[in-house]
Subunit: 786 residues, 2 copies
């Protein structure tokens, strides 16, 4: 392999060697299959997945990837990750990306190697050579975990990328006798509208070192990011330019009067055009370190990647992924392996590191803080990820990683201007995106799973502050009325049911801590979903402050201004995951509940019904797998005495919503929530109510999986007789003993051993039918004497 | 007095009480005259003085003053201090101002009280009631050190202002039954061009506390300032608004959906409209603390001003000024007292404090630092102030204050991205304005005067770094060629002579430290003025890199692109203050030198010659007292054996360039340099070459002055027989002994005692004629064996 790789690096035929590598990896009989080789990083880069194919380490701060977006293109949604598989030109390579969001930002520190006459503008995709943008072809593109390579056809430059946690490494191979040039375009961002750049600066420290910083508005306001760029060869000429076109006061750029003498420049539209001359070995390497704190910290972060050995860095990145993905060892078909390990790969993109080597980071107050005893991470897409991603990461990454996340949430609360936990945070900053206080279930779930080193009192106080912060999301009304009133607050129905669930996790944690007063209060709040459930229609509906349901009512309405968050009543009426017994009661019993969920899946709906809302995708009837409110719904049949129907529906979802192709995700991956759902579902169980320590069974989709648990134990999951036909659970055995419950406890998993599903072609209508052993919902129920 | 004051505060007749006060102050026979009562803070607010009339403490961080400027008015020069006496409308009251600059910035945190319907735009001066801007009249305006009062005629609000070091205190008295309103306009700046606001934020902390911050471009780039605003009464309603008109992505402002619920807002054009209802006593007090570091630090700075007692704060501000100005006790006419104490007052506006109570400040690297063992000051207009202001402040404020300045310069060097001392710094940031490395003579002068607690090695290293930083101002060429070449660097002639002087101060300091190698090197560099002195024409002229003088040559040319900095060869050919012996030699002897200087003063020049250059003002022939290159010129006759001609010229300058009126300064006060010249000249001596420890005699303009020296001693300066007619020095006695030298040493002043000038109507042609006792110039001369 090494031989091929080094040849590739000197040659330009990306495709040929990439193909050879792919063949060699799978064809060498007897060699153990590597998890990282199974990953297809292009899954989700087409369609609505919004993933990126670039080079990164697990949870890395640098996520270095090509951007194909068109600058100043107003339709930003499809380019949320900067890259779309459908595109055929590359704008450049930038160092920060979201994996799977429905909103856009980042794309920091864009570099683009090029040749020929100076090109200071990106140009247009439809006009070749109109700027530094270049055409490319998937035939000459290759990517794998920690590595990305492409040929820039217009410039005849081979680009390779790899990364450590805080440093991106570029290797550019220019054609013979071509003078090597690089553009650094600080104007560029993902969703690159005019006015996004608040300020930026650029400074020459030596012929091989540039530093700078940028402050942007956008999804988060006043976001600062600093960088240090080190070149393997000295710059021969350079021009630091401010391309602002109508400024009244340009100010002084600092010492130096001629372009090559300018050492520093500040402004809103900075560009550096760097020329390296004809290079002896045609090769230029570039290290880019980023820092939340300062240029000096970025320089210090460069030390993370000593030397200029691209191959070693690439191998280290790959090894880091192999270690991370190897927590689950899989027996499955090649296609299933690809889907599964790609999902696992995508579940390890965020929350991502946002901390310098010395522990410095920038918090929600825009100030510099130092992490003591943990590693600060950010990019918390909490409305999505509290559901399955955080439970998955706790399970396969262990308490260490999850402790970083939890400590980062608590540190953010302490530095929050509002004194509350993050809602939707990236790069340390609050975006106020989506609803709920879903950092609360993330922390409660970790506590219930005995996260070590957590100061429960501090955590509980932070959670309560978030749950009782009146100005946020109608909480002042929710606390007074027991529901969010639709005439005083938008998306009132969704907020009420999600708050009630979050409240239940506070109660769970307080109960375990022995704080009975708090537990009682929050178990009571956890029942607030009842205030917005209309038993007449069987739907969750919003009430006005006067107590009346809002009228008229149409359960399919989901637009902005409705009472639902990216959803309709059809999608939101199932969200009391901590008390499905109440749901059954409100719907009038199991049969009615089953019939109603069947209606969700089986509805024949006009495709226009949800077409206005980008995030509602992956439709099966009203079920929208492409968005999170539906994610637990297929599992609910388990609670209604019909596990076999869950097993059926999961087959339907897995077959229609995922595939091993660029458009293989039916909706935004949402920082790994879509992927985490896939991983859990493949393994046969899912956390419907994080905080319960229960995983409800679905059915396995893999023959065998071995989970390396963070406590050193192993859980083997086996699906006996699994086939396309044998898709129902006949029986379950845990460590050889018959397991009649349709769920498994976290403690049971952590004890290790073997979980065997015996699959069969006909549903087993009696297995797991009993409404038993729901300790958490019973606690909630009984503590309220209802 | 107290009685009147408190009545004034409740009433609205500003003028009446102001007049009463003025009368009472001077009319109460037997009461000791207060220095602060003599100050007319309006001197310099008209014409080209560019001073401001607002409330501040000596060297205070808050300089709270009315702004009369028109927003977005491109002609910014006349409004460099925000206020012009000629104007008749007030835009609002902002908290930071420059005193006497020729360039514009600051004007932070603009507040304006108003009444009636909501007004969110300032409106136009020529259209009453077109916005929150209001008409005012000098008849109902009063100001004195630490206090400013005005009636806003359009809103019928009486405004009073006072300040502590870091906090501005406003008192607004509204008309009966009028609802009190206040606008906070974060868009507003001095030189308020579009795009100056990079970013700003505003946050409601309680019904009585607002905090925020702002980042601006302008004279300095990326300048951050934070603030905390506390109201004596709760806000009843508030609207936080972003008035940006064409943003594509407004983002999320945070929790809250209705105007009164919004707790925080960020953007580029923020405005807060605050309503307090009808107040019981019609009075609203507002404290505004500023901070270079953070909103939290601004809140902490508020503690500097406890309680809501306006009178106490005003009295404390006045007492602080009385103490500061009382360092010189004057016997002189009322008009002379006003001019003198106003000049002394204006010499204490900068460098100003730029540090939080806990020592935090923001340095030239934009990062937060902590001052240890000194108080960080900024606003170093060094090209101006190294000449007379810093020597004056060392003399009358003492080593303590000057040590703060010197330590601030050194701390700035350590945090400087270029590793050099400040050139023209404010709010910690470099502007690269003007030429030279004139922090060097400031530090050297302080060292030569035995500034305690200075680490000379550290200081000397910092000075040398500045003098040898190649990319700055052609220094790489200067070091190679011995002059700055005009074909490679603008303003080459001025730079060469000023660098040579700065170099000499390094040599002086190194010599005193016993660093003979450095002294030799820099004494040699100090002679570089010779390389640009053309003995054929008798002018300082620029050479090209090939050694040829640049042609054609016109000694009156002073425009941008000339070889001079805000001047012509007529003005710049006198600048080798450390080696006037060489000047004489180059000009061909005393008589020729005298004749040439006479030409400077007596030239009849077309007024258009210098009309294109705003800063060249205060013309007497080619002599431009309104700008600094001329400031030492009248004193040069002393070196040519004709002290009586210096005495004559000074009379001419004092009579034509200063008066006790708003347009009483003939040029920008330049952070006190114009005023420091006045103070020294009034006392009879002037530091032609700081670093020499010599003050050259002019002639006194006051009957008697008692200097309270910082070492506890006193120097009495007496002018016997001084009258309009008796304007020549007949003889000088120092402590009773005849003093034939035409200069006095710093050590002699510091020893205290009595310096008596015996004045007479006819010039004494022989007194002080000898070219003797120039130890410093001889040292320079002899060390080079020339």
């Amino acid at each position: 392999m090494q031989h091929f790789l080094s040849k590739f690096c000197l040659g330009s035929r990306v495709c040929v060697f990439a193909c050879l590598m792919a063949i060699s990896a799978s064809a060498l009989a007897g060699e153990k299959l590597q998890a990282s080789d199974a990953v297809n990083v292009f899954i989700g880069t087409g369609g609505d997945g919004h993933t990126f194919p670039g080079a990164t380490r697990p949870f890395g701060m640098v996520q270095l990837s090509p951007d194909t977006q068109v600058r100043h293109f107003k339709q930003s949604y499809p380019w949320a990750a900067g890259y779309r598989y459908e595109d055929d030109t590359i704008l450049g390579f930038s160092h920060t990306h979201f994996s799977g969001t429905g909103h856009s930002d980042l794309g920091d520190v864009l570099l683009m190697p090029y040749t020929g006459e100076n090109k200071l503008e990106p140009g247009y995709p439809e006009r070749a050579f109109s700027g530094y943008r270049s055409r490319f072809s998937h035939q000459e593109e290759h990517a794998e975990p920690g590595y990305y390579a492409v040929k820039l056809l217009d410039h005849n430059v081979d680009v390779e990328l790899t990364a450590s946690e805080r440093v991106g490494l570029h290797r550019y191979h220019y054609a013979a006798n071509e003078a090597a040039k690089v553009i650094l375009d600080l104007r560029s961002s993902i969703y690159d509208y005019k006015g996004k750049n608040i300020w930026s600066s650029l400074r020459v420290r030596s012929a091989q070192l540039l530093t700078g910083g940028r402050e942007t508005r956008g999804w988060a306001n006043g976001r600062q990011l600093f960088f240090a760029i080190e070149f393997s060869q000295p710059m021969r000429h350079r021009a630091l330019l401010n391309r602002e076109d109508a400024i009244e006061y340009r100010g002084f750029a600092g010492p130096g009067n001629r372009a090559d003498e300018i050492m520093k420049i500040e402004g809103k539209a900075l560009l550096a055009n760097l020329e390296f001359g004809v290079l002896a070995d045609q090769t230029l390497l570039v290290k880019v370190a980023i820092s939340p704190v300062s240029e000096e910290a970025a320089i210090a972060n460069l030390a993370e990647m000593p030397g200029w050995d691209f191959q070693t860095q690439r191998a280290q990145a790959k090894a880091a992924w192999e270690q991370a993905l190897g927590v689950i060892e899989l027996d499955a078909s090649p296609v299933m392996r690809t889907q599964f390990y790609t999902a696992l790969y995508h579940s390890m993109q965020g929350p991502s590191l946002f901390m310098d080597r010395d522990g410095g980071y920038r918090g929600p107050d825009h100030q510099v803080h130092h992490a003591e005893g943990f590693r600060f991470h950010s990019t918390f897409s909490l409305w999505d990820t509290y559901r399955a991603l955080h439970p998955l990461l706790h399970l396969v990454q262990g308490a260490d990683r999850n402790r970083d996340f939890v400590m980062s949430l608590l540190a953010s609360q302490q530095a929050s201007p509002e004194g509350i936990l993050p809602v939707w945070q990236f790069h340390g900053l609050e975006t106020w995106c989506m609803i709920g206080y879903h950092a609360v279930p993330v922390i409660a779930d970790a506590y219930m799973k005995n996260l070590p080193g957590l100061d429960a009192e501090t955590a509980l106080n932070a959670m309560i502050k978030s749950a009782e912060y009146g100005p946020y999301g109608g909480l002042q009304h929710y606390m007074r009325l027991g529901y969010v009133p639709s005439d005083l607050e938008p998306e009132a129905a969704s907020k009420t049911v999600e708050y009630a669930y979050d409240d239940w996790t506070i109660a769970r944690m307080a109960e375990k801590m022995g704080r009975r007063d708090i537990a009682e209060k929050y178990y009571a709040r956890a029942q607030n979903f009842r205030h917005v459930f209309d038993v007449q229609t069987g739907f969750v509906r919003a009430r006005k402050a006067d107590g009346e349901f809002r009228t008229p009512f149409d359960p399919t309405v989901s637009n902005f201004g409705s009472d639902y968050t990216e959803g309709s009543a059809w999608q939101y009426s199932w969200y009391m995951p901590h008390d499905n017994a109440a749901l059954i009661a409100m719907l009038g019993g199991d049969a009615a509940a089953i019939a109603k969920i069947d209606q969700v899946f089986d509805a024949k709906i006009d495709e226009k019904v949800y077409a206005h809302m980008e995030d509602i995708s992956g439709l099966i009837g009203h079920y929208a797998h492409g968005n999170e409110p539906s994610h637990h719904v297929a599992y609910l049949y388990n609670y209604f005495g019909a596990p076999w129907k869950t097993q059926e529906r999961l087959q339907q979802v897995m077959e229609t919503q995922y595939k091993a192709a660029p458009d293989g995700l039916s909706g935004n991956d949402d920082l790994g929530q879509m992927s985490a759902w896939f991983v859990f579902t493949s393994l046969g169980f899912y956390p419907v109510a994080p905080g319960s320590n229960e995983y409800v069974f679905g059915r396995p989709f893999v023959d065998k999986a071995m989970l390396r648990l963070p406590n050193g134990k192993q859980l083997i999951v086996r699906a006996e007789h699994l086939s396309a036909k044998n898709r129902y659970i006949g029986a379950v055995r845990l460590n050889g003993k018959v397991h009649t419950q349709n769920f498994i406890l976290h403690e049971q998993i952590m004890a290790g051993g073997e979980l065997v599903f015996s699959m069969q072609a006909q549903p087993n209508l009696s297995w797991g039918k009993a409404h038993v052993d729901r300790p958490y919902s019973q606690t909630a129920y009984h503590s309220l004497n209802q």
